[in-house]
């Protein structure tokens, strides 16, 4: 049975006077991978960032509509954004490890959540690094700077960092767009393994990637949700002409 994890209801977002998202209503299912695709500026990254309220950081953003996670409206005034973000891991387009050691990068989240016990931290760090398939590459140099890792390793470290706070949802904003094909393949394989335990939402420019890794695909265009459904259906037999044109490469 499919269980709804996230649902947005008539979500509309303005940057100043510019409409960036228009009336988005969409259900995202638990323990599935949902891909958001569409040409640049279509609102897919903006939508992703509404799910952990990262748009709050940008001045002059106006949001109407609601987003429910596990049935709770995250745009309610009572919601503690800091606690909300602990439930939601995020991986960014450009890998952004802190200028700290590999260990400290992964331990950052648990530490700010008040975990001090060294043994517990060691355990969390090891598990997170193993889950993100980078443990074998870094286990002998946990105290080296994370900035010395390759781009692909840095991105997997960022995934480990996000996993270390034990989130339920992972948001990925074009996580492989800056990586070489081999690193990209590793990340995709990782997404495949992670979906058993996490609900994953991934923004991607790469159509094959969306087709390979996702269970559901949402196609955005000019701030609107054009079509949403099972990935297989979207890529083989889309309902809308615009969707078909985009995925067959006729525009975008």
């Amino acid at each position: 049975m499919k269980e709804i994890k996230i649902s947005s209801e008539s979500l509309t977002l303005y940057y100043g006077n510019k409409l960036a998202l228009s009336n988005i209503t969409l259900n995202i299912f638990k323990n599935k991978v949902t891909a958001l695709i569409g040409p640049s500026g279509c609102g897919k990254s903006t939508f992703l960032r509404t799910l952990n309220r990262m748009n709050d950081l940008i001045p002059n953003v106006k949001i109407t509509g609601n987003v429910f996670i596990d049935g709770i409206n995250i745009y309610d005034n009572q919601i503690d954004v800091v606690n909300l973000r602990k439930k939601i891991g995020m991986v960014f387009q450009k890998s952004n490890p802190f200028a700290k050691s590999i260990y400290e990068n992964v331990a950052y989240g648990p530490k700010i959540n008040g975990i001090r016990d060294k043994k517990k931290l060691d355990e969390i760090v090891e598990n997170a690094l193993k889950q993100s398939a980078i443990w074998d590459e870094v286990k002998d140099r946990l105290n080296d700077s994370a900035l010395g890792l390759s781009g692909g390793q840095q991105q997997r470290l960022c995934i480990a960092r996000a996993l270390a706070v034990n989130p339920e949802i992972i948001l990925m904003d074009e996580p492989a767009s800056a990586l070489d094909p081999i690193s990209t393949a590793k990340i995709e394989e990782l997404i495949f393994q992670l979906k058993d335990s996490y609900t994953i939402v991934i923004v991607t420019h790469n159509m094959q990637q969306a087709a390979r890794v996702s269970d559901y695909t949402a196609f955005f265009y000019l701030g609107e949700l054009i079509e949403y459904g099972k990935t297989k259906k979207i890529f083989t037999n889309p309902d809308k002409k615009q969707t078909e044109d985009y995925i067959t490469g006729r525009f975008g």
Binding site: M90, Y108, R161, A162
Partner: protein, 299 residues
């Protein structure tokens, strides 16, 4: 020769010569000071006290006083300046009236003549706070209501505050937005993000600001004239309420107040040399640190 070409050549020569003269001036200053002071520069000169009406002996008390001054000044100015810079760059809306007013105040502060700071220190720290302390805690006995190293250092810290604020703000801006977002997305609060990501990322900037402030503070005399610098002291300062000697002030005293100005001349040169070496090397260090920050932000 063609008249236009002649004008061109003349302009090049004049501008070039003017620019060159800057180097010549600094060279002349350095050479005169080095030649005049080099024979006097010994270890003993640095470690002994002035003797026989400053015509003999060394400059240790002035060196000691200067170092103490800049240390106390930094203890006041660096946290104050860093906290202000954090407020301005992290919390204040850059377009808000309060942020604009603070920035204007910082710029104005850096343009106020040093002697005004000295007068302010005298009026505010000594006559107002110091005398107030004496009246309320020491039943009017004179303890804090007179010039001392604490008031001089605090006065100096006001002068160097803009330097600290500007350097720290510049460094904070080089911490990429990605890093802040990564931290916030992990459920860190804004303060946790500042403490664990932004401040560690701007440490070099905070150091640069400190060094520039120290180098500025080591060379200024006007703010300490009325607030704590002494003509001559037989003993080193041991408490915050003691007066102190200072390198810059010592040069001024030797060249204007000494019983025999001609005899103190080599000491003046040597003292000047020490002061210059001190501030030059601090500035050099700051330049090196700053270029490291710039490189980092480009990457």
């Amino acid at each position: 020769m063609d008249k236009r070409k002649l004008i061109d050549t003349t302009v090049i020569s004049i501008t070039g010569l003017m620019a060159l003269s800057i180097i010549v001036i600094i060279l002349i200053i350095m050479i005169v000071i080095i030649i005049g002071g080099k024979n006097y520069l010994t270890w003993e000169f640095l470690t002994s006290s002035p003797q026989e009406g400053m015509t003999k002996g060394g400059i240790f008390p002035a060196l000691y006083g200067t170092v103490l001054l800049v240390i106390i000044m930094s203890i006041a100015a660096v946290p104050f300046g860093t906290i202000t810079a954090i407020y301005l760059s992290e919390y204040a809306n850059p377009k808000s009236r309060i942020a604009k007013t603070i920035r204007f105040a910082v710029r104005t502060l850096s343009g106020v003549p040093a002697i005004i700071f000295g007068l302010f220190g005298l009026g505010f720290f000594i006559k107002f706070i110091g005398a107030g302390l004496d009246n309320s805690l020491y039943s009017g006995e004179l303890k804090w209501g007179q010039p001392n190293i604490l008031w001089a250092s605090l006065t100096m810290s006001l002068l160097t505050l803009p330097v600290v604020i500007v350097s720290v703000e510049e460094a904070i801006r080089t911490v990429p937005i990605d890093m802040r977002e990564a931290s916030l997305a992990l459920g860190a609060t804004k303060w946790q993000t500042i403490r664990k990501v932004v401040i560690p990322g701007s440490l070099t900037g905070i150091m640069t600001g400190t060094i520039l402030a120290v180098s500025r503070g080591a060379g200024e005399i006007a703010p300490i004239l009325f607030t704590g610098a002494a003509y001559y002291l037989a003993h080193l300062p041991t408490s915050l309420s003691d007066q102190f000697m200072n390198l810059g002030y010592h040069i001024y005293i030797m060249s204007t107040q000494s019983a025999n100005v001609d005899e103190t001349l080599p000491i003046q040169f040597a003292t000047t040399l020490i002061l210059l070496v001190l501030t030059f090397s601090l500035n050099l260090l700051a330049i090196l640190l700053r270029s490291r920050i710039r490189n980092k932000s480009v990457k």
